[in-house]
C-alpha cells in the first residue's frame, strides 16, 4: 500500500514536468497548428542557461530566493528571445506552405539544437551529463509512517507552479484581449487579420510565452532529476507532446491533465515491471488515444473542410 502511495506521488511529480512542457506545446499548436518538435530542445537550452547562471552565481548546494528567481528569469527571458527568433526566421516564412514543410523544419531545428549542444568547442557544453546545482535544497515536506511515503518539497513546489500556471494561462486565453486575439488567430488566421488582429505579433508572442514556459519547466525538471545533458529535451519533448495530445491538443487544462496522467501511467508501469519499458508506454498510450479518441480527452474533432 505504501508502495502504491509512493508511486502515486512520484507519478504526479513526473507528470507535473510533462504538464508544464505540454502547456507550451499546446499553446503553440493552438494558434499555429504546428507541432513544434523543437519545444523539448528549447527546454534543454533553458536548462543549460539556468545551469550557466547558477555557476556564475557560484551556487553548489546553497542559494537565495533572489538567486533562484534570477536563474528562472534569465533562462526564461533568453528562451523567449530564442522562441521569437525561431518563429521569425524558420516558421514564419513557411506559414502558408504545406504543413509538412514546417514539421520538417521543426525536426531540423530540434536536431540542430540537441546535437549541436553535444559538440564541445566554443561555449557549447559537450555530451557529458552534469549535475544541476541544488538551488532548492531538498527537504522532506511530509513523511507518512516509518518513511514509507515521502513527499519532497520540490514536488509540492512544482505541482503548485504547474497548477498556478495553468490557471493563469486559462485566464489569459479566456479573459484578456490577447487571449481573445489568440483564439481568433487559432480559429482562422486570415479572417483574424482582416478583423485588424496583428496576426504576426500574436503568433510571435505565443511562441515567446511557450518557450519561456519550456525554460521554466526545464529548470524544475533539472531540480527533480539533477543530471542534465543535451539529449534530454528530445524525449521529454516527445512525451510532453504525447501529454498534450492525450489532453486534447490546444486545450490548456487538458495539457495539465494529460501530463499528470502520462506521468502516473509511466510511473506505475515502471514501478511494477521494468524501467526499460518506460519509453514504449508513452507512445503506446498515444497510439491508443489517437485511434480511439483522436481529439484527446477534452478536445473536439474538427471535420475537414474541402
Amino acid at each position: 500500500m505504501s508502495d502504491f502511495a509512493q508511486h502515486l506521488i512520484n507519478g504526479v511529480a513526473a507528470g507535473t514536468i510533462y504538464a508544464l512542457v505540454a502547456l507550451g506545446y499546446t499553446m503553440v499548436y493552438g494558434v499555429l497548428k504546428l507541432i513544434n518538435f523543437a519545444h523539448g530542445d528549447v527546454m534543454m537550452v533553458g536548462t543549460f542557461l539556468g545551469y550557466g547562471v547558477a555557476q556564475k552565481l557560484g551556487y553548489e548546494h546553497q542559494s537565495s530566493l533572489w538567486g533562484v528567481l534570477a536563474i528562472f528569469l534569465a533562462a526564461m527571458a533568453a528562451c523567449a528571445v530564442m522562441g521569437f527568433l525561431m518563429e521569425r526566421f524558420a516558421y514564419r516564412p513557411l506559414r502558408d506552405k504545406p504543413r509538412l514543410t514546417a514539421l520538417i523544419t521543426a525536426i531540423g531545428i530540434s536536431f540542430t539544437l540537441s546535437y549541436g549542444f553535444q559538440l564541445d568547442f566554443g561555449p557549447l557544453p559537450g555530451a557529458a551529463p552534469r549535475a544541476f546545482p541544488e538551488i532548492i535544497a531538498p527537504r522532506e515536506w511530509l513523511i507518512i509512517g516509518d518513511r514509507a511515503v515521502v513527499i519532497w518539497n520540490w514536488q509540492v513546489i512544482s505541482l503548485a507552479i504547474a497548477i498556478g500556471l495553468m490557471l493563469i494561462l486559462q485566464a489569459l486565453v479566456y479573459r484578456t484581449r490577447f487571449g481573445r486575439a489568440m483564439r481568433a488567430v487559432s480559429f482562422d488566421h486570415r479572417t483574424a487579420a482582416l478583423m485588424g488582429i496583428p496576426v504576426d505579433r500574436i503568433i510571435a508572442l505565443t511562441f515567446m510565452l511557450g518557450s519561456a514556459l519550456a525554460a521554466g519547466a526545464g529548470i524544475l525538471y533539472a531540480i527533480k532529476d539533477t543530471a542534465i545533458q543535451p539529449l534530454m529535451g528530445l524525449y521529454v519533448g516527445l512525451k510532453a507532446f504525447v501529454a498534450a495530445v492525450i489532453g486534447g491538443i490546444g486545450n490548456v487544462p487538458g495539457a495539465v491533465v494529460g501530463g499528470l496522467l502520462l506521468g502516473l501511467v509511466e510511473e506505475f508501469v515502471v514501478g511494477y515491471s521494468s524501467s526499460s519499458w518506460r519509453d514504449a508506454v508513452a507512445f503506446g498510450f498515444l497510439i491508443v488515444v489517437l485511434l480511439v479518441r483522436p481529439g484527446g480527452l477534452f478536445g473536439r474533432v474538427a471535420a475537414e473542410k474541402v
Partner: protein, 343 residues
C-alpha cells in the same frame, strides 16, 4: 522479343554487371563494406520515398522496420549457422539460406508495416508522423527487452554471408519496383493521394488500401535492408535503429526531393559517403594526433549539420534537389530518354 523476356532484360543486365563488379572488387574489404553501407542506405531511402514521396504520407519510423528485418534475418542466420542444405556445396547452401533469411526479414517487417499501417494511416500529416515515430520506438524497446535478441547487447556472431553482389542486387530490385510503381495505375493512385487525398477519394481511389499497400512495400524493403545490414556488420544492437537513424533516412529523401527515386539515391550516396570521405581526409591530412580528433569531430558534427540542412532546405528549396523529377529529366533535350512517367 517476347514481352516476358523484355521485362527480364534489365534484371539479366544487372546480374551480369554486378557479377563482374563482384569479381573485380569483391576482395577489397573496406570498399565492400563502404559499398554495402551505401547500398543499405539507398534501399532505405528509396523505400521510404515510396511512402513519404509518392504517397505523401510522412513516416519517421523507418528504422523500426529495419530493426525487425535485421533481427529476424540475423537470428535466423545465427540459428542456421551449422545447418547445411543436403546436396549443395557449402557456399551455395550458405547463400540460399542468406536469401531465405532476407526474405523472412522482409516479410516480418512487411507484417509489422501492415499492423502499423492499417490503423495509423487513418491519421493525417503530423499525427501520422508522430505515430510512426512512436511505433518505431516501441519496436526498438520491445527488441531491447527480449532475451532471444540479446537485449541491449544485441546479436553478434551472425555469419557474414553478405556480398557486394547481394546488396546491390537488392538496391537494383528496390529501384526497379519503385520505378514500376510510378508508371503503373498504382503509382497514379498514390500520386493522387499525395496531391489531394479528399479529391482522390472522390474519384474512387481506395485511399486506405493504397496507403497501406505502399506502407507494406516500403517496410518490406526496409526489412530487407536490415537483413543485409545484419550480415555484414559484426554486431547489431538496438542502438543502431533509433529515431536518429529514421531521421537520417528522412533527410536523404527530403534532400533528394520527395517523390524522386533517383533523387533519393543521389542523396543517400552523398550523405553516406561525405562523412566517410571527410573522416578519411582528416585522418590522411592531420597526422595522427590532430587527425584523429578532427575525424571524431566529423562524427559529432554530422547530426547538427543534418538538422541545419533540413531547415535550410525547407526555407530555400522545399522540393529538394530534384523535386519530383528524375535525374534523366534534367539531361539536355537531344539525349534520348526513357518513356516519360509522371512529372
Amino acid at each position: 522479343m517476347p514481352a516476358w523476356l523484355r521485362g527480364l532484360v534489365p534484371v539479366l543486365i544487372a546480374i551480369a554487371v554486378l557479377a563482374v563488379l563482384q569479381l573485380l572488387l569483391g576482395h577489397l574489404p573496406f570498399f565492400v563494406y563502404l559499398a554495402s553501407i551505401v547500398g543499405v542506405n539507398v534501399i532505405l531511402a528509396v523505400s521510404l520515398n515510396i511512402v513519404n514521396g509518392m504517397t505523401g504520407q510522412f513516416s519517421i519510423g523507418h528504422a523500426g522496420f529495419m530493426a525487425v528485418g535485421a533481427y529476424t534475418a540475423g537470428k535466423l542466420s545465427f540459428l542456421l549457422k551449422d545447418v547445411a542444405i543436403a546436396g549443395l556445396p557449402a557456399v551455395v547452401s550458405d547463400q540460399v539460406q542468406f536469401l531465405g533469411t532476407l526474405l523472412a526479414g522482409g516479410a516480418a517487417a512487411a507484417i509489422c508495416g501492415f499492423i502499423v499501417g492499417l490503423p495509423s494511416l487513418r491519421l493525417r500529416g503530423d499525427y501520422l508522423a508522430i505515430v510512426t515515430l512512436g511505433f518505431g520506438e516501441i519496436i526498438r524497446v520491445i527488441v531491447q527487452n527480449m532475451e532471444v535478441f540479446g537485449r541491449a547487447l544485441g546479436l553478434s556472431g551472425i555469419p557474414q554471408t553478405s556480398s557486394l553482389f547481394a546488396v546491390w542486387f537488392c538496391v537494383f530490385l528496390v529501384v526497379l519496383v519503385a520505378r514500376r510503381i510510378v508508371g503503373s495505375t498504382h503509382g497514379r493512385s498514390l500520386w493522387a493521394i499525395r496531391e489531394d487525398e479528399v479529391a482522390a477519394e472522390a474519384m474512387g481511389v481506395n485511399t486506405t488500401g493504397y496507403k497501406v499497400r505502399a506502407f507494406v512495400i516500403s517496410s518490406f524493403f526496409a526489412g530487407v535492408a536490415g537483413g543485409l545490414f545484419a550480415h555484414f556488420v559484426p554486431i547489431i544492437n538496438p542502438g543502431s535503429f533509433t529515431f536518429v537513424k529514421s531521421i537520417e533516412v528522412v533527410v536523404m529523401v527530403v534532400l533528394g526531393g520527395l517523390g524522386s527515386t533517383t533523387g533519393a539515391i543521389v542523396a543517400a550516396v552523398i550523405l553516406t559517403l561525405l562523412p566517410e570521405a571527410l573522416r578519411t581526409l582528416f585522418l590522411q591530412l592531420g597526422g595522427l594526433g590532430a587527425g584523429v580528433s578532427l575525424a571524431q569531430k566529423v562524427d559529432q558534427i554530422r547530426m547538427p549539420v543534418y538538422g541545419i540542412l533540413l531547415v535550410v532546405l525547407m526555407l530555400v528549396r522545399p522540393q529538394g534537389l530534384f523535386g519530383t523529377r528524375e535525374v534523366w529529366d534534367l539531361l539536355p533535350r537531344w539525349i534520348p530518354r526513357a518513356r516519360k512517367g509522371l512529372t
